[in-house]
């Protein structure tokens, strides 16, 4: 095993280009480290020394989360709590405090798990991902970041340096996670929902090969706004947008049914409000 510990972004990028796996909180690696001996043969580039990737910054347009921002960092930040309760709701559902304090939002994105809890919240807020590679910098909308199961648009030489979350006024946000127990579990069915002047966003996790926006659901929500769509329409749209599977953790039938029930119930809480 080789571990590079760069202090500059340029160094880190050059290691990434050589096939080194970037590591920030190492939460995905560590859980199975002793038994997944194949991981011992890989080379890693440790990003923790890159101070330029730290910190939470605010501009008129954006909240910017440096790539080393952990869930805990955001949970401890009163401004993020006040303006983006959706992010906090998601962060609280990630693992336990140990994971929340090491795991990073950017790592959650880069890891590419369809069950990622942080990604749906960010995607529902129209977050964009800043990538830096040997040819410079670009910014990719998170909803166009994934190309397939654990596949992304990132180039071999690119690293995530920051996540940009547009500052908007939201009339409604909600985060739901269904795991096999009430805490410390991997999501079986999940979604984040947000409504602003830019319309509805519905993003599902563990419901397809990637965390995924649901354009049909968003369309019928926009069309029926401010009323919720009829249940059959909701179910029909969900079936167009999503492709859940049966696996070790749940069944396609369960995911389909519970997604529909929970989304309907969540939307009902919005309309029930004065």
């Amino acid at each position: 095993m080789k571990v590079a510990c760069p202090t500059t972004l340029a160094e880190a990028i050059s290691h990434k280009a050589l096939g080194f796996t970037p590591v920030a909180g190492a939460t995905d690696l560590w859980a199975h480290w002793p038994v997944r001996t194949a991981n011992h043969d890989l080379s890693y580039v440790d990003l923790s020394g890159l101070h330029e990737l730290r910190g939470i910054a605010w501009s008129a347009e954006h909240l910017t989360l440096g790539a080393l921002t952990t869930y805990w960092d955001t949970m401890q930040d009163s401004r993020v709590n006040a303006e983006f309760p959706l992010l906090i709701a998601a962060a609280r559902y990630v693992g336990a405090i140990q994971i929340q304090s090491r795991g990073t939002w950017a790592g959650n994105i880069a890891n590419g798990s369809p069950a990622a809890d942080g990604v749906p919240a960010l995607m529902a807020l129209d977050a964009r991902v800043r990538l830096v590679g040997s040819n410079g910098e670009r910014t990719v909308p998170l909803d166009r970041f994934y190309t397939g199961y654990r596949a992304t648009v990132m180039g071999v030489d690119e690293l995530i340096t920051a996540i940009l979350v547009p500052r908007r006024t939201y009339s409604f946000t909600a985060f739901e996670k269904v795991g096999p127990r009430r805490a410390q579990a991997i999501t079986k069915v999940g979604f984040a929902v947000a409504h602003s002047a830019d319309g509805w966003r519905v993003v599902a996790n563990s419901m397809a090969a990637t965390v995924r926006r649901c354009p049909s659901l968003e369309a019928i929500l926009n069309a029926s706004h401010p009323n919720p769509p009829a249940e059959p329409d909701l179910r029909a749209a969900a079936s167009k947008d999503l492709a859940p599977i049966s696996d070790i953790r749940s069944t396609a039938e369960y995911r389909t049914e519970v997604f529909a029930r929970l989304l309907r119930s969540t939307l009902a809480t919005m309309t029930a409000r004065p």
Binding site: R181, Q184, I248, Y254
Partner: protein, 737 residues
């Protein structure tokens, strides 16, 4: 009295097997079969590895018999010609570097000519699937009382049901761990995490063709067992000893969690069918019960698990006509083994769900149905055992209902359920019993021995093979000896189980430690005090201050010596068991329980949350409030897991979710306040008046919780674990919130 080893466990000072400082030792690991059934045609060692650096053990290196010493000797220590399940041990490797060893294990391929396996214990057999006897049946047993068939024909109401339970993984905190070496005298020694030192000793004797003085077993502090360290440590101990024997070095085998979950035993899955005849006012007339237990690939402990399951199958109820049949059958799955409750949780689940189904059929309250049928003093169980002692069963039930505020809460739930869009609340009851000690003549056969030594340093040492594994043996034994001699607890020490130093007081299983072995402590104390009295010329066996004074005086005159009191198990006079007819006193006594669960079901997600739990029981006299309540609380939590979330996902007889990320056990967030109450009734033949407590709390929660789900939702769940995915299929889609 505070738990004696509590502080060292709390502070992390306790040294478990993996913490023991060793120098110049090898790690041991296991190469396992990847085929569920077949003939081993070759073992290929990848030439890219320098195998001269490794100690390699196959079945050919076993000096004695290649058989795991248990009830039947059908299981090899290392598969020789055939494999019967995925993860069966075939080759052992040892090396100083654990990572090098982990890699090397993947470089050995066991080549197998596949044969047709069996995975469903109920599926009809093709001749080529036959692997044991004429029907792949490890054991068939039957209990008959009266004439169930005739009574069913005549019964005005007959209610049927089929119930199923899944496998369960123990998830002890400390995975299996064993260290082996050969000492200067040539004795093969092992120390490790285990429940039954003499089981391991017998396994070593058999595998190495040695007498007892050529082998030695020492227990290390054990981080939980739950039955998972009853039979399996014998295999790991022999494995470690084989590697140590061949390499001439100390060898340490510590299973990774993934390996432990994949390769070691689980609770037997079961299918239980009930046909019950009742009067219209709910009196049981006939119980016809058919039990299938999935034994896995080898016999291991299945016959005795089946036996306990059968004996508890008719529940704590009086019924004149009972017919129970059971079979433990072979499948090409890892062998299922001992797990807290040992067959009884499975059959209690079926019976207690069935009682609620009968009640629903009759339009009667499930509480009233139970009240009318619970065994009263003088009535007999299915084996004809007369109930002689214990708290009245209806008194326990009433205490549980009171503590749970059952009636008031159910009324509130009815209102809540009408009003709430998607939450449904309900309550469920289970009444049950658990026989303490070995079944039938088991305790007679064990003939457990125990010694208590009065030492010249003024202390009294209890010597037994009964192990502390978190359940409180050390503390409870100290209490019993101190009470028996009326001396302060700090004058008592409990010897560490080491087969060179302690007699065989039997395995630490079957809720027998406090009751059976504890009683031996009292008798050995009598013996020892008698000897001391005689040695001091006293007119009677001294107790209290007189005992201490006599011991101090004797100790000054006999430095370095000790007086050893002994006791051997003698069954209580009244106990009669007939193994041929399966009739009589199946256990010297039973512990009794009445549990009430409250649940809340979310119809959006079909998840069930246990919101309140009351556990009332009679375990004889409570020797230590905290430890006894801890046993009950822990058992209830383990049973909540079994009832609602712990599911082994099988693929070709191997556990696919052998990781704690995917095998889901409850966290504290999934567990409600558990209200534990004891109604005490000292048992004359138990240590300090105690009966068994360890397993009882595993029996009641499963059915109580599912009965509560039925109450909340109107569904009729008959299978554990009741995962949300399963419950969804039982709730009509029209109920969508």
């Amino acid at each position: 009295m505070l738990r004696l080893e509590g502080l060292s466990k709390l502070t992390g000072a306790e040294r478990y097997a993996d913490d023991m400082p060793l120098c110049d030792f090898l790690w041991g690991m296991t190469v396992r079969s990847q085929s569920p059934r077949g003939r081993i045609v070759d073992i290929r060692f990848d030439p890219s590895v320098d195998w001269s650096q490794f100690t390699i053990v196959t079945h050919r290196d076993i000096p004695g018999c290649n058989e795991v010493y248990l009830i039947e000797k059908d299981q090899p220590i290392l598969a020789a010609t055939h494999t019967r399940h995925i993860h069966e041990a075939v080759v052992l490797l040892a090396h100083p570097d654990r990572q090098a060893l982990r890699r090397a294990v993947g470089k050995v391929k066991v080549i197998v000519d596949e044969l047709p396996p069996v995975f469903d214990p109920r599926a009809p057999l093709a001749p080529e699937q036959l692997q044991h006897g004429t029907e792949n049946v490890f054991k068939a047993l039957e209990i008959r009382k009266g004439d169930a068939a005739a009574a069913l024909t005549a019964a005005p109401v007959v209610v049927e049901g089929e119930y199923a339970t899944g496998a369960q993984e123990h998830v002890y905190i400390e995975p299996n761990a064993m260290i082996a070496w050969t000492d200067e005298a040539g004795v093969i020694c092992v120390r490790g995490s285990l429940q039954c030192p003499y089981y391991v000793l017998n396994a070593l004797k058999h595998a190495f063709a040695r007498e007892a003085d050529g082998v030695r077993v020492i227990q290390t502090p054990t981080g939980g067992g739950f039955g998972g360290k009853e039979d399996y440590p014998s295999i790991i101990a022999v494995h470690a000893a084989l590697l140590a024997h061949k390499s001439g070095k100390q060898v340490k085998i510590i299973y990774d969690r993934d390996e432990d979950m994949a390769a070691t035993t689980k609770r037997h899955p079961s299918i239980v069918r009930h046909r019950t005849g009742v009067t219209k006012d709910g009196l049981l007339l006939a119980q016809d019960i058919d039990i299938i237990m999935d034994g896995g690939a080898y016999v291991t402990l299945s016959p005795v698990v089946l036996s306990r399951g059968l004996i508890h199958a008719a529940g704590p109820y009086s019924c004149a006509n009972v017919h129970v049949r059971g079979r433990a059958v072979l499948t090409n799955c890892i062998p299922h083994g001992a797990f807290r409750g040992f067959g009884a949780p499975q059959t209690h689940f079926a019976n207690e769900r069935h009682m609620d189904r009968i009640a629903a059929h009759l339009g009667m309250s499930p509480v009233e149905l139970r009240r009318r049928n619970l065994l009263k003093k003088g009535q007999t169980t299915s084996t004809g055992q007369v109930i002689r002692d214990g708290v009245d069963r209806c008194e326990l039930l009433d205490a549980a209902l009171d503590a749970a505020r059952y009636d008031a809460r159910r009324q509130r739930h009815a209102e809540f359920n009408r009003a709430h869009p998607y939450l449904r609340r309900g309550m469920g009851v289970a009444t049950f019993h658990h026989g303490a000690g070995f079944t039938g003549s088991g305790e007679d056969y064990l003939a457990s021995k125990l010694a208590v030594a009065a030492r010249s340093d003024g202390r009294v040492e209890v010597r037994s093979a009964s192990t502390e594994m978190g359940q409180g043996t050390l503390t409870v034994f100290t209490t019993i000896a101190a009470e028996a001699l009326d001396i302060p607890a700090d004058r008592v020490v409990v010897a560490n189980p080491d087969t060179h130093l302690v007699p065989n007081s039997g395995p630490t299983v079957a809720s027998r430690t406090a009751m059976v072995v504890g009683h031996l402590i009292e008798r050995a104390c009598d013996d020892m005090a008698g000897q001391l009295g005689a040695a001091r010329g006293l007119s009677s066996a001294p107790r209290g201050g007189a005992f201490l004074a006599a011991l101090d005086a004797w100790g000054r005159e006999n430095p370095g010596r000790e007086l050893v009191g002994r006791a051997q198990y003698k069954k209580p006079e009244y106990v009669q068991w007939y193994d041929k007819t399966y009739q009589g006193d199946a256990y010297a006594t039973f512990s009794w329980g009445a549990y009430v669960a409250e649940v809340e079901v979310d119809l959006r997600t079909f998840s069930t949350r246990v919101t309140d739990f009351v556990a009332v029981q009679d375990i004889g006299r409570v020797l230590n409030d905290t430890l006894a309540a801890g046993q009950v609380t822990g058992g209830v939590v383990q049973a909540i897991g079994w009832a609602l979330m712990e599911e082994c996902v099988w693929e070709r007889g191997a556990m696919k979710n052998n990781q704690l990320t995917n095998y889901i056990i409850p966290t504290s967030f999934d567990v409600p306040e558990i209200n534990v109450k004891f109604i005490q009734s000292p048992y004359a033949h138990g240590g300090g008046g105690a009966k068994g407590v360890g397993e009882l709390p595993m029996d009641g929660p499963g059915p109580a919780i599912l009965n509560a789900v039925a109450d909340a939702t109107g569904a009729d769940p008959c299978e554990l674990p009741l995962t949300p995915e399963r419950l969804m299929r039982l709730i009509p889609s029209g109920d969508a919130p």
